[in-house]
């Protein structure tokens, strides 16, 4: 039987097992929407802005093991989506974006709502397609899901002109695709793993540095095994939080620009570094020249060869899926474990524990003004460390990363690479859809939240009982902090003037609003909010305007050059 391009699109999504897609209709996707409403397997979530559709699909993917799907129209639909696509690209999130395009015969004629979608998105997608022939539509969508979810994952966009969605052809969905130019299956080199094992067993001051790749590869169990067997200190990057349990004794905290003193010092001073699914980026190791002042051997495990020796030269690269590599590595390490210099390792831990005593995350707990760190600590206690936490970008993001101890992977959802303000709320929506019944909180600030505040309406429509923790310091806090440290206290345009009354704002969308102004009220307010299981609660915490995030490695400085509180 012949189906239209629109019908084929929906049938493909059904065949991929897609249960939710996030989108916004428009002229070029009208046929697709018409088919969407004729079925109920794929549930469409109507957002209020295309950026939010992509962030929601992103949160959906990050908090599950599935591929997120977004659907937007041509022109402004796509350009609005670009921020979301770039966000997903920077963090390697599996996602398929379907965009409408003007009809093939109108392409290039500056048609209404025409934009060169493939051109605009090219630098921020893993791959993209423009479907010019309806007979290639089904295979193209199959390829999109395949590319998005394999290898180093990433967003893939399929641009479908309106006439293609209207034309008819025979439909059959391929079971698999073969692409001679793309083969994500990597056979791990056992030779390299052996070399790594040898290096690791000879370590006197070992360090395990694990990033978002561990989460993406679902390799948490293997990472835990590795750390527990060897007894090595382990740090996570911002993207890797939850990859190793934060409450475990071997965990030394997050590293990097706002990482703990002990994690950064151990990273700088170790003699053998095992980097797993992490990419030595500027927010992690700071200045690479300073990093290389200390001699160390580096084992780097990553699925993407281009991550190897990009910023830091490594000694033993191992290309492959982290789960596979760690299985092999652990097997080899177990055999020769007694070769490990336990005396040296004990001395190393003594040193690390001395660094820990520095208590780098301390803050004034007796303050009469709400300290944002305290809000996160109470949030952690009240949710028993088991909530899904999304965040926006800035100081609140760093405090959430520092003070919420993530013990499980895929619980910490934030825009690490692109640093997209406005990510938190729509991402939380996606998290809630794929984890119904779970506690989902969005830690945000009064600046970030206003970048996608319109999604409070989406939350109302679908009764999403999110808890929004707004750390309101009336500043773009991180901008203000940099201005204080590096720009002579000149707070150029970082003050958030003319703020709305967030309580009334929440209420006007049909939600519950709360304003909390005293440290003594933090806990009771949080308890009250989380008791409201079926309501979205917007909690506006009025926090200390002058609080800064410590430790801090200033831009261009090295790991051991932290500013401490």
């Amino acid at each position: 039987m012949k189906l239209t391009g629109a019908e084929i699109t929906i049938r493909c999504l059904q065949a991929e097992g897609v249960d939710h897609i996030f989108g916004y209709p428009g002229g070029a996707v009208l046929f697709i929407y018409d088919e969407l409403c004729k079925q109920n397997k794929v549930k469409h979530i109507l957002v209020r802005h295309e950026q939010a559709a992509v962030h929601a699909a992103d949160g959906y993917a990050r908090s599950s093991r599935k591929t997120g799907v977004a659907l937007v129209t041509s022109g402004p639909g796509v350009t609005n989506a670009v921020t979301g696509i770039a966000t997903a690209y920077m963090d390697s999130i599996p996602m398929v974006i379907i965009s409408g395009q003007v009809p093939t015969y109108a392409i290039g004629l500056d048609a209404f709502q025409e934009v060169d979608t493939v051109g605009i998105t090219r630098p921020c997608v893993k791959h993209n397609f423009l479907v010019k022939d309806i007979t290639e539509l089904a295979t193209t969508i199959k390829k999109a899901f395949y590319i998005a979810s394999t290898g180093r994952p990433g967003p893939v966009l399929v641009d479908i002109p309106k006439d293609i969605s209207q034309q008819k052809t025979e439909f059959s969905y391929p079971d698999s695709v073969f692409m001679r130019s793309y083969d994500p299956i990597i056979k791990v080199s056992l030779e390299q793993v052996k070399k790594a094992a040898q290096l690791i067993l000879g370590a006197k001051r070992p360090m395990i540095y694990a990033g978002g790749g561990v989460i993406l590869s679902n390799a948490s169990t293997q990472l835990i095994n590795l750390v527990q067997i060897m007894g090595f200190p382990c740090t996570n990057t911002l993207m890797g939080l939850g990859g190793y349990p934060a409450t475990d004794k071997f965990f030394v905290g997050m590293l990097g620009m706002h990482g703990t003193y002990e994690a950064n010092m151990a990273m700088q001073d170790c003699d053998v570094l095992i980097a797993i699914g992490a990419r030595f980026d500027d927010r992690v190791i700071g200045n690479p020249k300073h990093f290389s002042n200390n001699e160390r051997k580096i084992v780097h495990i990553d699925i993407d060869p281009s991550s190897i020796s990009k910023r830091v030269k490594v000694d033993v690269p191992i290309i492959g899926d982290i789960s596979d590599v760690l299985d092999d590595l652990i097997r080899l390490l177990r055999i020769d474990k007694e070769k490990l210099d336990l005396i040296a390792l004990r001395a190393w831990w003594t040193q690390i524990n001395l660094w820990r005593e520095r208590d780098c995350l301390k803050y004034d707990r007796a303050s009469t003004i709400i300290k944002p760190q305290m809000v996160i600590e109470r949030l952690y206690e009240i949710t028993k460390g088991d909530a899904f936490i999304t965040s926006d970008v800035g100081q609140h993001q760093m405090w959430a990363a520092q003070f919420y101890k993530f013990d499980k992977p895929r619980r910490w959802i934030n825009s690490g690479g692109l640093g997209t303000m406005g990510f938190g709320l729509p991402a939380a929506m996606g998290v809630q859809f794929v984890n119904p019944g779970s506690t989902v909180a969005c830690v945000t600030g009064e600046a970030s939240i206003q970048m996608c505040i319109q999604e409070l309406s989406t939350c109302k429509q679908y009764n999403l009982p999110l808890k929004i923790i707004n750390l309101n310091n009336r500043y773009m806090g991180m901008v203000r902090q940099w201005q204080e440290f590096f720009h002579g206290n000149r707070y150029a345009e970082s003050y958030m003037d003319a703020l709305p009354d967030f309580v009334k704002l929440a209420e006007s969308y049909g939600h519950v609003g709360m304003k909390i102004e005293s440290p003594g009220d933090i806990e009771s307010a949080l308890r009250e909010a989380f008791k409201l299981k079926n309501r979205l609660v917007f909690m506006d915490f009025i926090t200390d305007q002058t609080e800064n995030v410590f430790p801090m490695i200033p831009g261009g400085k090295g790991l051991s050059e932290m500013i401490l509180v």
């Binding site: 791959h127 692409m179 001679r180």
Partner: protein, 163 residues
């Protein structure tokens, strides 16, 4: 360091912009780029001449390999290879310089492919530096225009780049 990179890419719309976009987005340098379909019309072959340190070129090759449409990448500079560039150059001729230009063209194994009373168009192939030398020998003042293809390269002997 100058490197000459050869690659095979699916012969589909947008392939060139993916490669060119990668170079501009990551701040890599392109000295020249040539592209045309191969004997198998589903494949295009590109030759890219770039200048960069070994580290940068290693990254360029990894990043090129990462492009979904790219099938194979080879750094020709890693081994023995042959490279040729084609140049067409139009030269203003007078009674005074006519013979000299003919002679120089012969010396460089070039061919005069078009003539008028006042101009010669010369076809010349060779390495980039040979073509540069020809231009310097003729002298810039008598050159009306030049067009160059950029280098095309191929490995010597058994060294092949094939699917």
């Amino acid at each position: 360091m100058r490197h000459i990179i050869s690659l095979l890419i699916e012969n589909e719309a947008g392939g060139l912009s993916r490669v060119a976009g990668l170079f501009s987005a990551r701040g890599y340098n392109i000295e020249s780029l040539t592209v045309a379909p191969t004997e198998d019309s589903t494949l295009s072959r590109m030759t890219i001449v770039t200048i960069g340190s070994d580290d940068v070129v290693e990254q360029i090759i990894k990043q090129l390999n990462k492009l979904i449409d790219v099938i194979k990448v080879l750094n020709l500079s890693d081994g023995d290879h042959i490279e040729y560039e084609l140049m067409l150059v139009k030269i203003h001729v007078t009674d005074k310089n006519r013979e000299v230009i003919k002679h120089t063209t012969d010396t460089f194994s070039g061919h005069i492919v078009d003539t008028t009373d006042i101009s010669y168009t010369i076809k010349l192939t060779g390495t980039t530096s040979k073509l540069d030398t020809f231009i310097n020998t003729i002298g810039h003042s008598s050159i009306l225009e030049t067009v160059r293809t950029g280098a095309s390269g191929i490995g010597r002997g058994e060294r092949t780049l094939k699917v």
